[in-house]
Amino acid sequence: MLETRNLDKSFGAIHVTRDVSLKLERGERRVILGPNGAGKTTLFNQLVGELRPDTGSIHLAGEDVTALPVATRARRGLSRSYQKNTLFDGLTVAENLALAASVATGNAMNMWTDSLAKPEIRDIVDDVANQVSLIPYIHAKVSEVSYGVRRQLEVGVALATRPLVLLMDEPTSGVGPEMAKGFHDLLNNLPRDLTLLIIEHDMDLAFDVADTITVLNYGEVVFDGLPEQARGSQLLKEIYLGSWEDA
């Protein structure tokens, strides 16, 4: 469904992506682990097209999308949420979701009809608001709701595009354990055919939702396998788990 081949990217002297080749099957749920600065977000930015890789290619549903702009990839079913909230702050929760849904339903360029009143868009808004537990805040402005709620909306906007592949960049970053559990439930309730790539710091959550795990270190894939293997991997303990267990 989503594949990278020998992706490479440097910022000047910093080599942030080193020969990364990944392959996600349809419906696969893969978690990316890696210490701070490992190049996880930079990899996402290349996958969605916000950054151009120096070399290598990206394939979505079997087609090379390396040269395609962000919006085109999104319309082909690639959606992302951001590590740092990237929302429409002055608008309501419902309007945030509706903006994404109106693109997905082909209403974003329509000059005549009120997109907020369209049943197909309302359905998506209600549906997604339900999925990410936003119903109580649906008419509140983003600037009026708590950080945790914004985190949920961050994923909600990405879901409202009705994606085939969803990339989530640390969806639980900065939220309490209770809300992190809520995300866990959310992930388990997502349709099974949705392909997921999740950057996650919470190890329990990661091992729990992942079909497969990729570990990045200094921009390089140092592990690619099943969660059970990851748990037992010595290399992984050294570069990643070790530092966590010590902490």
């Binding site: 962000v70 319309r75 429409f88 608008l91 693109v103 974003a108 000059m111 595009t161």
Partner: protein, 329 residues
């Protein structure tokens, strides 16, 4: 995002009733002022669409109005096209120019966007000034008004023409509302709030900006066509950047991003201009002082200020009615 509130409806009703009453009772000079208000109001509607709902602060809307005026003048007075055809063509031409400007400027933001639009405006101005075909400095005269004699209306009569302009204003307002409430208009507001995210959800943002800018240019073009018919003469002064600047002042004075506010601003601006210039030649100075006061007050213009007051007045009531609900529960 744009929505009508009871206050906005009420304000529209008062404006419509007031202007209609003025059109029915005013003498020659009053009708001139009313026509001036209607034309300015159409122009500032067009500007608020892009500036207030898309963050595209344009300094070429005066020039776009001028393009509409010149296109109508040339097509109707020189090429001898029937006025309705010339009107439609002029609106289409200013819309097309506007779309191209919007498409080119869509990638720039903030001050760079303002400067880019200013440059386009100045290009149009200097072209009109130097072009022999457009009459250069002298402009174009002998511009006919629309002929509605078939339905018994003579637009050469001041009152009929004022009513005609008010009707055009109502149509322009209706069009602006439809556009702002459409998927396209809402996408534009999404871009204003977060262009990166709109792209990430799959929107080709420059197209949205260009399309709304083009539609806005058509409305500005309508203002130009009416201005040309009103004074039956066009000159390069119509395209001067100060016209755009003045329109921006009116939008800010009235209330950026409220659509109704700029209408209020247009009425206040023209009335103030005439009242104050009766007393002193320094009316620009007075308008300047008022503008500084409005901007410093941090209210969103006169109408924005009223909206904020009404919202504050309503807020305690909402809380107390919630308390009652809790009590009743």
């Amino acid at each position: 995002m744009f929505r009508h509130t009871p206050l906005r409806y009420a304000t529209l009703a008062v404006l419509a009733a007031g202007m209609f009453a003025a059109a029915m009772t005013a003498e020659y000079f009053g009708l001139e002022i009313l026509t001036e208000i209607a034309i300015l109001a159409i122009l500032v509607l067009a500007l608020d669409m892009v500036a207030g709902f898309g963050g595209m602060v344009s300094l070429c809307h005066g020039a776009l109005m001028g393009v509409g005026a010149y296109a109508y003048a040339v097509l109707a007075a020189k090429a001898g096209l029937a006025p309705p055809v010339a009107m439609a063509a002029a609106i289409a031409i200013s819309g097309a120019c506007s779309w191209v400007i919007g498409a080119i400027c869509a990638r720039s933001h903030g001050i760079y966007f303002i400067m880019a639009t200013l440059a386009f405006g100045q290009m149009a101005y200097s072209y009109a000034f130097d072009s022999a075909a457009l009459g250069g400095d002298d402009g174009v005269s002998g511009i006919p008004r629309l002929d509605l004699s078939a339905i018994g209306i003579d637009l050469n009569d001041g009152q009929s023409f004022a009513l005609f302009c008010l009707l055009a204003l109502a149509a322009a307002y209706g069009a602006a509302v439809i556009i702002l409430r459409s998927g396209l208009g809402r996408s534009l507001t999404g871009i204003m709030h977060n262009e990166q995210r709109m792209r990430a959800v799959g929107l080709v943002t420059w197209r949205v900006k260009a399309d709304v800018f083009g539609l806005s240019g058509m409305i500005a073009g309508l203002a130009g066509v009416l201005a040309a018919q009103h004074i039956m003469f066009v000159s390069p002064g119509l395209l001067a950047w100060t016209v755009s600047g003045e329109a921006l002042v009116v939008v800010i004075l009235g209330g950026l991003g409220t659509l109704v506010g700029p209408l209020v601003g247009a009425v206040l601006f023209v009335l103030l201009k005439h009242e104050i210039s009766n007393v002193t030649p320094y009316w620009h100075l007075v308008v300047g002082v008022i503008l500084v006061a409005v901007v410093m007050s941090r209210a969103n213009g006169v109408f924005g200020w009223i909206e904020a007051r009404v919202a504050r007045w309503q807020a305690p009531r909402v809380i107390s009615s919630r308390k009652e609900q809790v009590k009743n529960a």
